[in-house]
């Protein structure tokens, strides 16, 4: 199994993701510059966090037009795995690979802190090693993480069990007080209808070692690696 990490001008969590895949998951991984378009040798892609194109225009808006993104769309259409973290989630929404949009946090602040998220479904390649209802402690670091979508999209996400993570308190209660950015329905992460594309605002790659304050994020990468091992 081979991982690729897409690097845009302004990506800054690419090395964190690389570290986790190479050292924690123990699998081969490459950086992929945003001008490259050949993704054939990869089984899973990570679109990392950061400030692609300086967040100019809208977060993720310009990265969507990078040459690699057409290939990412084709890659996703073949059922292979695409994980967008933070700015990666914003890019996936802008590119139309995930529904909705991420707007300015309701209190306007850039928030950088550990939060709790509840695993809402184990029916994804990214959470199949976890129990629904379990609570992960993972950091967020964003100014535009406030997830918005229209009523019909929310109904669809709910009915199709595509809300993968929700912000919660440490006991797993999904409350407004535990919602750091105003996201609709406390949504922290969603997947596409075929469940191979996941976007989430929290940074699991920053929570894979106890030294960093939490290793809860590791389960997401472990689930994905287990899925890949099973299909290989």
């Amino acid at each position: 199994m081979k991982f690729g990490i897409i690097v845009f001008p302004g990506s800054n969590c690419d090395h964190d993701a690389y570290h986790v895949i190479s050292k924690q998951v123990g699998q081969p991984v490459d950086f992929i510059w945003h001008r490259d378009t050949d993704l054939n040798s990869y089984d899973a892609l990570i679109i990392p966090g950061g400030f692609s194109y300086g967040d100019y225009l809208r977060a993720g808006a310009l990265a969507r037009f990078s040459p690699v993104m057409e290939s990412v769309k084709k890659f996703a259409a073949t059922g292979r795995f695409v994980l967008g973290i933070c700015n990666g989630f914003q890019i996936l929404c802008e590119a139309g690979l995930l529904p909705g949009a991420l707007i300015r946090n309701r209190d306007l602040h850039f928030i950088c802190e550990h939060v709790f998220v509840r695993v809402e479904t184990s029916d994804t390649p990214y959470t199949n090693e976890m129990t629904p209802g379990s609570v992960l402690r993972i950091p967020i670091a964003h100014a535009e993480g406030n997830y918005v979508c229209d009523d019909s999209t929310l109904a669809e996400l709910t009915q199709e069990d595509r809300i993968v993570f929700r912000y919660c308190d440490q006991d797993g209660n999904v409350t407004d007080a535990a919602n750091p950015n105003g996201s609709r329905d406390n949504i922290a992460g969603i997947c596409n209808p075929s469940r191979n594309v996941l976007g989430l605002m929290p940074h699991p790659e920053r929570a894979c070692e106890e030294l960093l304050g939490s290793s809860d994020g590791r389960d997401i990468f472990r689930s994905l690696a287990a899925t890949l091992a099973a299909v290989a």
Binding site: A101, N146, G182
Partner: protein, 81 residues
């Protein structure tokens, strides 16, 4: 020829920046403000040879596909001779 594109948040989409601006101007003593919404404004200089109708169409497509995110924003295009 110049194109002007105005991008604004759709009604109902929360605009925390607009709220903060409203709060600030009210603190300065401005009264009678019901609401403030912040948007974006683009000026696009077009080559003189451009045909107005084609320019309008092309700028509208630019606004739809790049300058705005249709999930959360509306846009309006004006062409100046």
């Amino acid at each position: 020829m110049k194109a002007k594109v105005f991008v604004s948040l759709k009604p109902g989409v929360l605009d925390p920046q607009g709220k903060a601006i409203q709060h600030s101007v009210e603190l300065l003593g401005f009264t009678g403000i019901a609401d403030v919404r912040q948007g974006k404004y683009f000026e696009i200089a077009l080559q003189d040879s451009a045909n107005e109708e084609q320019a309008r169409e092309s700028v509208a497509r630019m606004a739809r596909e790049v300058l705005s995110n249709p999930i959360i924003e509306d846009y309006r295009v004006e062409i100046e001779g």
